[in-house]
């Protein structure tokens, strides 16, 4: 999810500028955000954080950055389940045990492709990552992805496209020998 297309601004602040009527760049009004108060208006996503505390490295990084995630996604509803609720939930879904912390993103304005309607969105299984650096990188990808594509019509397709791009980038990286350089280092 990190790959940036050529047309995508490299800095999140670049996307904040707009062109005014006379062609000059006009920055939109930016109000400082702090801790959320009350229910989110015009929420596009419901974001659920499930963490039984199994993966200590991922849990630690997630706890340290949950307020940043909350403030970045202040327009969406964020639910952070406590340990007891997370464990109670995971007992119903044994396949997810050990893959938590899990961040589940539910799209409230989904693009249904089939007659059978179901909840759209994606889940991020941070528990399968080994190091704090990997978890932090994944959280950054997650925050960047949701902010960039908040108004996208089909979030599922965008996740798949990004995964495909990531797969190709990984292949190029392997062919380029970066992996061997890392191993030598």
């Amino acid at each position: 999810m990190t790959s940036e297309s050529a047309t995508t601004p490299q800095s999140p602040f670049e996307s904040l500028s707009r062109t005014g009527g006379d062609g000059a760049e006009v920055a939109p009004a930016i109000a400082p955000t702090s801790a959320r108060k009350g229910a989110a208006r015009d929420a596009r996503f419901h974001i659920f954080v499930i963490d039984s505390g199994w993966n200590c490295a991922a849990s630690k990084v997630l706890r340290e950055h949950i307020n940043v995630i909350s403030d970045l996604h202040i327009d969406d509803e964020l639910y952070v389940l406590d340990r007891a609720t997370s464990i109670a939930l995971l007992r119903h879904y044994p396949l997810q045990v050990g893959r938590d912390p899990i961040i589940a993103v539910h799209d409230l304005r989904p693009h249904h492709r089939h007659r059978v309607k179901h909840t759209h969105g994606f889940r991020m299984h941070l528990g399968i990552l080994d190091s704090e650096d990997q978890v932090l990188a994944a959280l950054r990808m997650f925050a960047r992805f949701l902010i960039r594509h908040r108004n996208a019509a089909d979030i599922d397709e965008l996740v798949r496209q990004d995964l495909h791009r990531q797969g190709l980038a990984g292949a190029i990286e392997i062919l380029g020998g970066h992996e061997h350089q890392k191993m030598i280092e």
């Binding site: 964020l78 639910y79 879904y93 539910h106 969105g121 889940r123 798949r160 990984g170 392997i174």
Partner: protein, 71 residues
């Protein structure tokens, strides 16, 4: 003798090239699988858990995050 060395070198080169290709295929496949595991797109098979979470939110068992976790 020279011909034997020549054919042996060819066989070893071909085997090494095949091993590199197999490794590349395995590594790319492994990375793609890990990415798919990390970012799992919800489908009909994950609808029950998704609906369970939404139900917890609707019933007020879990409340929107405001600096403290709920449950």
């Amino acid at each position: 003798m020279d011909r034997w060395f020549s054919s042996a070198t060819e066989v070893i080169t071909a085997a090494a090239a095949a091993a590199v290709l197999v490794y590349l295929g395995y590594e790319i496949n492994r990375r793609q699988k890990k990415l798919r595991d990390l970012f799992y797109v919800l489908g009909p098979d994950s609808a029950v858990m998704a609906e369970h979470l939404e139900e917890l939110a609707r019933r007020g068992v879990i409340r929107p995050y405001q600096g403290t976790v709920t449950g």
